[in-house]
Amino acid sequence: MTAFLAALLLGAGYNTAVVTIGAAILGGSAGAIGTFILLRKRSLVSDAVSHGTLPGLALAFIVMAWLTGDGRDIVALMAGAALSATLGLLCVDWITRRTRLTEDAAIGAVLSVFFGFGIVLLTVIQSLQTGGQAGIAGYLLGSTAGMLRSEAETIAVAALLTGAVVFALRRPFTLVCFDEDYAATRGIDVRLTDLAMMGVLLAVTVIGLKVAGLVLIVALTIIPPVTARFWTDRPGRMVLIAAAFGAAAGYVGAAISASGRDLPTGAVIVLTASAFFALSLVLSPVRGLMSGLVTRLRFRRRVHERQGLLALARGEAIYDPLTIKVLRRAGHIRADGVATLKGRAAAAAAVREEALWALYRRLHPDEAAALDHQGLVPIDRALPPDVVADLSARLEPALTGAR
């Protein structure tokens, strides 16, 4: 525990500090590019990319072992991984465009073939008479224990660069994700933008292989963006929040793994990211389970208030205890159930609202059906002013002088 705490607080030596910071930057970049991949509805592609790296990784190891006697050269391994992942992406693209298979089927096919081939190559590596076979296993599930300082620095700098690229291209990325036709008319090359998006995803995946492992790195590009969606309705903020969740997951994962336990980093990172996701699922103020409950309760109160006010307007007696409670709390009725002045005004307003909404439902049934909470929010907050003016004019021709 103390080793973990020391690592968490960057007190476990320079090496470990660089590794944890590098993992955090990587998580941030992965969350940022993952957001755009998610909004482009291509999250599955990141799975193809990560599994597609394995044959290249293994081949690079074999070649380096043959040439230098030790296959664990991080730059060569990254290059090999990038090459084979690119090949995998091209295969997916080719299959999707030239055959009648859909992209998800193509991804499934390419992913399993590449991964299977990579596993065969790993078996070959096990039988080689060379050192460092254990080093390659770390790429499967991720390992930061015993990572070299130079390796960690390479990862940190490369991840920072990809983050910068995402920042620079955020506008075209957002536009293409939202509306590619419109983006094209604004002079954005959609194909090139998609290519850049895939390129950054590929770079982040390859850079993160050593830290998160190729089986689980896909989680870093999917879970943080999905988590971020719970907290915001704005594209820029979603990218930032996803980056923050990704960075936190990468940080904690690397710290635990670096503290010397025999835990694969990738697994810890995924568990941390999932914990954030679960918390957001429950607690999010916009889309979470708790807020859903609060919204339902508030909606119920609004229904009772409206019904109570309409009853007041009609001079009917109210028996429902919740309705009475809601009206009394809002100051619409006194303790003895008699309407206050404020209550009478509110009742008149409610009658008018109800009439306007009824008219709207009659004139524009389709539009009305599509609106949330129709009829229970003040109509001038739910509809544009000219529509409200039109409805009022129809409702009270004498007052507004129209028609």
């Binding site: 939202f178 509306d179 309705d233 704005r234 594209p235 524009h364 389709d366 000219d386 529509v387």
Partner: protein
């Protein structure tokens, strides 16, 4: 309408022939596979016109504007915008896509969408400043949506979404507005609000081109019409071109005859109502 003359008319290019036209199209042909969606369409939009593109479903109306704007690849034909190739005058065009073409659950507020229209003005790397946000709000004000600036776009009704798209186009301060079915699935009040904004733009000298599906409102809203069904059937001022004969030719067959009659009845009824 024969292709060779379209490419060079008496040695002059399309742009030289129509230097003032906001959108000149010649020999435009688009196909998906071997089935032509549009075949050799020539069309010159007069400056300052309000143009309706009309035709039956699957006639290639949307494809026509998408191909003209470079969204869909064309296999033949030339397009010029204000006398120059499209790529050089892109900034003078505002395109309003079909409402159904985007995912409205996208994490964006109404203001974010309008700000997309200002990306060119804001610059590639810089953030939107206060001036841009105010301008976006002013555009929303013009379509009656200023109060909705901070709403998530998924919470809007169809008519409201269409208004937001129009506000985004307004933000671009273009000279040519190309709209794909702006009145499809919107309520009557929104339709009035949109046409009011379009007429206002038109009075200020802007050119409007709309793919339009409601034959009954063509004479009321537009002054120029293009009738298309894979090939161009006719184009010209509404008064002389929007005839039942041309509509017959566009919609074709007995079914269409009934449809055209129905339109005529609707037009009469609309005329009486006023």
């Amino acid at each position: 309408m024969n292709a060779p003359t379209l490419i060079a008319d008496q040695g002059r290019t399309l742009g030289q022939n129509h230097p003032d036209s906001p959108l000149a199209i010649s020999g435009l042909t688009v196909s998906y596979g071997e089935k032509p969606v549009l075949f050799s369409v020539d069309f010159v939009v007069p400056k300052g016109a309000m143009v309706a593109i009309v035709g039956p479903n699957g006639a290639g109306k949307s494809t026509l504007i998408k191909a003209a704007l470079g969204i869909v690849p064309r296999i033949a034909g030339e397009v010029t915008v204000f006398g120059v190739p499209y790529e050089k005058a892109r900034h003078r065009i505002a395109y309003v896509p079909q409402r159904a073409s985007v995912d409205w659950d996208f994490p964006a507020t109404v203001r974010d969408v309008v700000l997309m229209g200002l990306y060119r003005e804001i610059g590639f790397l810089r953030f939107a400043g206060r001036r841009h946000r105010e301008k976006a709000l002013a555009c929303l004000e013009r379509v009656g949506m200023a109060a909705f600036a901070d709403r998530q776009i998924g919470q809007l009704s169809g008519g409201q979404q269409q208004r937001v798209f129009l506000a985004r186009a307004l933000a671009q301060e273009a000279d040519l507005y190309v709209m794909d079915e702006p009145f499809a699935g919107v309520d009557a009040a929104t339709e009035r609000a949109i046409i009011a904004v379009l007429k206002e733009l038109n009075r200020a000298g802007k050119t409007i081109v709309c793919v339009h599906h409601d034959l009954a409102t063509v004479p009321e809203y537009f002054d120029h019409v293009l009738l298309v069904n894979v090939r161009k059937i006719a184009d010209g001022p509404v008064a002389t071109t929007f005839t039942s004969q041309n509509l017959q030719a566009t919609y074709g067959g007995r079914l269409a005859a009934a449809h055209v009659e129905e339109v005529a009845v609707v037009r009469e009824a609309a005329g009486e109502g006023r």
